[in-house]
C-alpha cells in the first residue's frame, strides 16, 4: 500500500498519536481555522501502538499552540516541536488546572446559560479521574459533546 506523503515542515508542531477520528475536533479546539498557516490533517494513519491514529502537522510559530487545551482533550497526544525541519522538543502534556472557553457548560440551570458574556471556565476537580467541573455550577464536563 502506498503511504500518503505529506511534506516536511520547517517550524511548527506535529501532534502525533491522536485518537483516530479526533483530529478535526482538535483542529477546531486549537482554533487552527483562524490561523493563517499551513495545516495537514492526516486521518486513520497506521500505528503500531494504536492500530489507527490521526496526525496534525501545523506550520506556524510554536508559541501559538495552547497546550492546556490539548491536554484537556487528550493528554496522551505526543507533541513534537519542530524547528529548522527537525524535532527539537517533545512536550509532555499535563492536565491544566483550569480551562477557559474550550467547552461549554451544558447545565441549563447554570448562570452561564443566561449571561452570554460570561466565560465558560472548568476547573480540574479530580486529577486521578480527570474530572473537570464548571467553576460556577460544578456540573461535570462531558468531553465528548463538548465542542465550543
Amino acid at each position: 500500500m502506498n503511504m500518503l506523503n505529506v511534506g516536511k515542515i520547517e517550524e511548527g508542531f506535529v501532534l502525533d498519536h491522536i485518537k483516530a477520528g479526533k483530529s478535526l475536533s482538535i483542529y477546531h479546539h486549537l482554533q487552527l481555522d483562524k490561523l493563517d498557516c499551513t495545516v495537514a490533517i492526516i486521518k486513520n494513519a497506521r500505528s503500531n501502538k494504536m492500530g489507527k491514529k490521526d496526525i496534525l502537522k501545523v506550520e506556524c510559530d510554536i508559541n501559538t499552540l495552547n497546550l492546556d487545551v490539548l491536554a484537556f482533550i487528550d493528554h496522551n497526544i505526543t507533541v513534537n516541536v519542530i524547528k529548522d525541519g527537525k524535532i527539537v522538543d517533545k512536550k509532555e502534556l499535563i492536565l491544566p488546572k483550569e480551562i477557559r472557553n474550550v467547552i461549554k457548560c451544558r447545565n441549563p440551570r447554570c448562570i452561564t446559560s443566561i449571561e452570554q458574556e460570561l466565560p465558560h471556565i472548568f476547573v480540574l476537580a479530580d486529577e486521578k479521574k480527570e474530572i473537570y467541573r464548571c467553576k460556577y455550577c460544578e456540573e461535570k464536563a462531558g468531553k465528548s459533546a463538548s465542542a465550543w
Binding site: 448562570i111 449571561e115 460570561l118 460556577y136
Partner: protein, 304 residues
C-alpha cells in the same frame, strides 16, 4: 476580602472561630447590638425565599445595621435584562455586604468575582445553600457540645436533597461520625457520596425504615419526601409513613437524640412531636440568625 459561596470555603478552624462567635452572640446579644451601626446589608433575592431573607435581615438588624434590597427578580433591574455582574457593581456602591439568592447556579459566584463588597450565597438553584449548612453545624455544636463522635440519621429524600448533601460534605471533616441513610430505594443518597465515604473510610448504613434505626441515633436530620419524586402512587402510599416522625417513633429514640429539620416542614414531622424537648428544629431557625450574625461580622472584618 472573603465571600461565602460553599460551606467548605471555610476551614474547620475558621468554622470553629465562626461558631465561637455565634455562641458568644447567643450568650450576650447586647454586646453586639451596635456592632454594625452605619453598615448596610443588601439582600438581593432574585427568587422569593421569605425564611432565608428574613433571617439575614434579622441578623443585620440585631447587629444594629440596616438592610435594603429586593425580594424577587421582577422588582429588580434583572427584569430589564441587567446582568448579575452589573447589578453587583452598583450594589457595591450602596451597601457594605450582600446576601444573594438566585435561581441560576453559580450566580452569586459571578457576583463575588466582580464585587467590591463581601457576597454571601443565600442559595443558588439546586447547587449550594451554605448558610443552611452552617446553621445545621452550629445547632449540632451548640446543643450536642461537639461536632463529631456521633451517629447521625439522615431521613427522607436523600437523592435530591441539597441540604443533606452539603451537610454530609461538611460533617466528614470531623472525626468518628457514623451515617445512617434512611430513605426509600428511589431516593437513596447518590453513589458519588457513598463512594466518597468508602474512599475516606467513613462508616455508613442504608436502611428503608426509620423505625429500624431510630434507637441508634444521636441526631436525626429529617427532610421531606415529596410525592412527585416517586415513580408511582402505590409506592408513595406504601412508603410515606416510614418517613413521618411521630410520638410513637420518638419512644424508641435515645433520651438525648436531637431532631433537626431545615424547614419548611410539611407533614414529615407530626406536630405532636413539636413539644418534645428533643425536637430542636425551631431552635435551629434561631441558630440560623446567630450564625448569619457571626458570618456578617466575620466577612465585614475581612473587608475592612
Amino acid at each position: 476580602m472573603r465571600h461565602l459561596m460553599n460551606p467548605l470555603d471555610f476551614s474547620v478552624e475558621e468554622l470553629d472561630k465562626l461558631f465561637d462567635l455565634a455562641e458568644d452572640i447567643e450568650a450576650d446579644p447586647a454586646k453586639y447590638a451596635h456592632a454594625c451601626t452605619d453598615r448596610k446589608l443588601a439582600t438581593c433575592f432574585y427568587e422569593p425565599s421569605t425564611r432565608t431573607r428574613l433571617s439575614f435581615e434579622a441578623a443585620m438588624l440585631n447587629l444594629g445595621g440596616q438592610v435594603l434590597g429586593f425580594s424577587d427578580a421582577g422588582s429588580s433591574s434583572a427584569s430589564k435584562g441587567e446582568s448579575v455582574s452589573d447589578t453587583i457593581r452598583v450594589i457595591s456602591c450602596y451597601a457594605d455586604i450582600c446576601a444573594m439568592r438566585h435561581p441560576k447556579e453559580g450566580a452569586p459566584m459571578v457576583a463575588a468575582e466582580r464585587s467590591r463588597i463581601p457576597v454571601i450565597n443565600a442559595g443558588d438553584g439546586g447547587h449550594q445553600h451554605p448558610t443552611q449548612t452552617l446553621t445545621d453545624l452550629l445547632t449540632i455544636r451548640a446543643l450536642k457540645g461537639r461536632l463529631g463522635n456521633f451517629t447521625i440519621g439522615l431521613c427522607g429524600d436523600l437523592k435530591f436533597g441539597r441540604t443533606v448533601h452539603s451537610l454530609i460534605n461538611a460533617l466528614i471533616r470531623y472525626t468518628d461520625i457514623h451515617f445512617i441513610f434512611i430513605s426509600p430505594p428511589e431516593l437513596k443518597v447518590p453513589d458519588y457520596i457513598t463512594d466518597m465515604l468508602r474512599e475516606k473510610g467513613i462508616t455508613y448504613e442504608e436502611v428503608i425504615r426509620l423505625e429500624d434505626s431510630i434507637s441508634q441515633l444521636d441526631l436525626l436530620y429529617m427532610t421531606r419526601v415529596q410525592r412527585e419524586r416517586f415513580f408511582n402512587e402505590e409506592d408513595y402510599v406504601r412508603l410515606k409513613d416510614f418517613y413521618i416522625l411521630n410520638k410513637e417513633k420518638m419512644k424508641s429514640a435515645k433520651p438525648d437524640m436531637l431532631v433537626l429539620h431545615p424547614l419548611p416542614r410539611v407533614n414529615e414531622i407530626s406536630v405532636e412531636v413539636d413539644d418534645d424537648p428533643r425536637a430542636v428544629y425551631f431552635k435551629q431557625a434561631q441558630y440560623g440568625v446567630y450564625v448569619r450574625m457571626a458570618l456578617i461580622l466575620t466577612l465585614l472584618n475581612s473587608a475592612d
